[in-house]
Symmetry: C2
Subunit: 167 residues, 2 copies
């Protein structure tokens, strides 16, 4: 892949608005919680109820998702934007699960005030290039009404404003 | 799955901000173009450069993606919002590719003024429940600078506003 092609593709991908999620998991033996910030998360189907996440195999949480066989998708609200830095900086790793903002959700760390928090059991995984795609069947859902979803676009945090055609 | 669980999951998925894409393809023998509106589109990895789309097997474009072995992800701009209705309503099917807004991109229909248009060759597919997940290697990219990405959230169209932490 030449450098121009790579730069174009990165630019195209940055233009895709997406949710900001923290994917969490917990080691079944040590009970150690792990988490990472992800934007590559999609619903797959309602039958069976399922979500797909794309995880870089070099990320520290990857092996724990495999061992635990489960993950929780926590969709961040705008008010939770400081968690993006907390879960992106390796230096802050020890503080990630220190606060009283987590609760158990199907034996996984669920973020209490997330816009939505969706616990999944891994049913299928596919390796492709540098990433593993995990398809999880949904085992638990928590919703918080009246929270505003946080988004990514162009490499930065964003909020969403309803668009009225004609306006 | 009980009705409450299903309703909760649908509500959670509606809270995920996402890009609005028109996925296009072209039958290799009849040259018939096909397309559908999709929100379940993610980048997979840069090595190889790849995208994943989730397509309901009951959609009319599904069989053509399989036959053609390729698809093009056209990320809509805010100005292109009328295309959502055009590609969602079966009654408007004949008008979808009538306008002079399409051009060839790696033998696939590319939307000329899309925020980005990414042609992909299918490298892998996975059936899960009602959907097929297609992983495509990127073969061509077109970008239009100074276009504003269109988004979905809560079942409606939306635009994205940069969020400054602290504001």
């Amino acid at each position: 892949m030449d450098a121009d092609f790579s730069a174009h593709l990165k630019a195209a991908m940055r233009r895709m608005p997406s949710a900001v999620s923290i994917i969490t998991t917990r080691h079944p033996e040590t009970a150690q919680p792990m988490g990472l910030v992800a934007s590559a998360v999609i619903p797959v189907t309602m039958d069976p109820p399922s979500m797909l996440v794309s995880i870089n195999r070099s990320s520290s949480a990857h092996a724990t998702i495999v061992t635990a066989g489960g993950f929780c998708v926590n969709l961040l609200s705008v008010a939770q934007h400081p968690l993006v830095k907390l879960f992106s900086s390796g230096a802050l790793r020890d503080r990630r699960f220190a606060d009283d903002i987590w609760e158990e959700r199907c034996d996984l760390p669920g973020l209490r005030d997330a816009t939505a928090s969706i616990a999944c059991k891994v049913r299928h995984s596919i390796s492709f290039g540098t990433h593993d795609l995990f398809i999880g069947e949904v085992t638990g859902i928590m919703l918080n009404d009246d929270t505003e979803p946080l988004a990514w676009v162009e490499g930065g945090l964003a909020r969403i404003v309803a668009f009225e055609p004609g306006s």
